[in-house]
C-alpha cells in the first residue's frame, strides 16, 4: 500500500497548533462579548472589566499549558 500522506518534522508543533484552537476561540469570545457588554452598559464597566480579565487569564493559561505540554511528556 502506498503512503497517502506523510508527516515530517516536529509533531509537537502540530499538537500545539491543535491545542491553540480552543483558547483562540475562547479569547475571541471573551473580548468580543466583553466589548459588547461594555457598549450596552457602560456604567457596569468595572465589573465587566474584572470578569473579562479573569476569564482571559484562565483561557490563556490553557494555551500556555499546551505550549509546555510537549516538554512535560518528554520528561516523563
Amino acid at each position: 500500500m502506498s503512503l497517502l500522506a506523510e508527516v515530517s518534522g516536529n509533531v509537537t508543533a502540530i499538537g500545539y497548533g491543535l491545542a491553540a484552537i480552543g483558547p483562540g476561540i475562547g479569547v475571541g469570545i471573551i473580548f468580543g462579548q466583553g466589548v459588547q457588554a461594555i457598549a450596552r452598559q457602560p456604567e457596569a464597566y468595572g465589573l465587566i472589566r474584572q470578569n473579562m480579565l479573569l476569564g482571559f487569564v484562565l483561557t490563556e493559561a490553557l494555551a500556555l499549558i499546551g505550549l509546555v505540554a510537549p516538554f512535560i511528556f518528554q520528561a516523563i
Binding site: 472589566r49 479573569l54 487569564v57 484562565l58 493559561a61 500556555l64 509546555v68 512535560i72 520528561a75
Partner: protein, 71 residues
C-alpha cells in the same frame, strides 16, 4: 493617582496594561517554577517535579493576576 483626578482614559490604560501583562505573568510563572522543578528533577533523578512546578507556577500566576486586577 488620587481618585478625584481619574479620567476615563486611565481606565482604558489600566485595562490595556493588565491585558498585555497577563501572558507574560503566566509564562514567567511556568518558566520559574517549572525550571525550579526541572532542576530538582535533575538533582534528585526524578521526573515528577517538573510537571508539578509548571502547574504550580500557572496557579500562582493566575492567583497573582486575580489579586492584582480582579480585586
Amino acid at each position: 493617582m488620587s481618585e478625584e483626578k481619574r479620567r476615563p482614559e486611565d481606565d482604558g490604560r489600566d485595562f490595556a496594561n493588565a491585558a498585555w501583562s497577563i501572558p507574560s505573568y503566566l509564562l514567567s510563572g511556568m518558566v520559574f517554577y517549572g525550571g525550579a522543578g526541572w532542576l530538582l528533577d535533575r538533582w534528585l533523578d526524578t521526573s515528577a517535579f517538573f510537571p508539578i512546578g509548571v502547574v504550580l507556577g500557572t496557579v500562582l500566576a493566575v492567583y497573582l493576576v486575580y489579586r492584582k486586577h480582579g480585586r
